[in-house]
Symmetry: C2
Subunit: 197 residues, 2 copies
């Protein structure tokens, strides 16, 4: 166990991003999360808005107005974006120790043996509550609906590009139910594990 990099995959609303940021702070490491969007935009030539739009919605995009256009172009755009994502993440890993949240970093870095792969999830009730707490009341939208939609998109995206099942414990070194264990506990646990070398 000698890790340089920690990847955190997470369910929407589980607090996985917060755990990643707090963990990186405690360990004095950079944390890449939203920062990946601008890096991918720069690498691919797309605008940040389009990277965000295309980034985890594999089966739709709004760049093209007709169904035929979308069908023709979406696959090409997705591939271009995926290539940019791979390149950015592989380069970040080369630069030194860090925490990377989301973006299939666990699978993109699967050939490195200095990566601690973590998955953070929580029960629906905890997540729905946290979504409202963090993102505020959603105009006319039920937090459960938003969560389930996000789950579906994230799951589809992950499975499409990694060809492995989203949420399967066997893809990770450690998975944690943050609702049950608490975000602080998750941070402390991972901090201790990273330091055990």
């Amino acid at each position: 166990m000698s890790y340089k990099i920690i990847t955190i995959s997470r369910q929407f609303g589980s607090g996985g991003r917060t755990v990643g940021k707090e963990l990186a702070d405690q360990l004095g490491l950079p944390c890449y999360d939203q920062e990946l969007i601008s890096m991918m935009a720069e690498e691919s030539g797309f605008s940040e808005e389009h990277v965000r739009e295309l980034g985890d919605t594999p089966f739709r995009n709004r760049l093209f107005s007709t169904r035929a256009e979308r069908a023709l172009n979406s696959s090409y755009l997705q591939s271009a974006l995926w290539n940019a994502q791979e390149k950015v993440i592989l380069e970040l890993a080369e630069q030194g120790p860090c925490v990377i949240v989301g973006r299939c970093a666990d699978r993109i870095l699967k050939d490195r043996d200095d990566v601690l792969r973590v998955f953070i999830h929580a029960d629906e009730e905890f997540r729905a509550h946290r979504i409202v707490e963090v993102y505020g009341e959603l105009e006319g939208a039920d937090p459960y609906d938003r969560m389930l939609e996000k789950d579906k998109l994230r799951e589809g995206y992950y499975e499409r590009y990694t060809r492995t099942q989203w949420g399967d414990a066997r893809n990770f070194h450690l998975t944690l139910n943050s609702g049950e264990l608490g975000l602080d506990f998750c941070v402390k646990l991972l901090e201790g594990l990273y330091k055990t070398e």
Copy 2:
């Protein structure tokens, strides 16, 4: 987080049973593993041998010699055994704090909020090596073959009775790759977690 019971689901060869026994020793709790077989035998009226035979091979048994007999009886026998298993595990949980290894205890006790649900797994190489180390050389059998057969049986059994996917992180509070993290680390982590109340 105030747990009385720890359930450990595990991949064959991952050392999950060893972790459970060691953890129970450290916490001064009873550990139920092979003991469940004789309890189920007593509860169901089957011999221990038949409990073992039927217990995790849902789609075959040798009690009946013809295919018609097997088809007619195996479902009934499986149900009887499952009922015995449920009863034994529910009663054990009522008796007090303990560690329970395998036997879908995580799902059988899903309605209790004092159960810490753990899944232990490891990479194939680690498990194949450990199978030979623990069970000795297998006469003419490849440890990988034995492991994959056991995986398949355990997976089928779990999914048939619990209607949830084997190895899905979201069914557990914590999942650990014992090959990566080490058995001692897993024991210490769970011990610390159990004591945090």
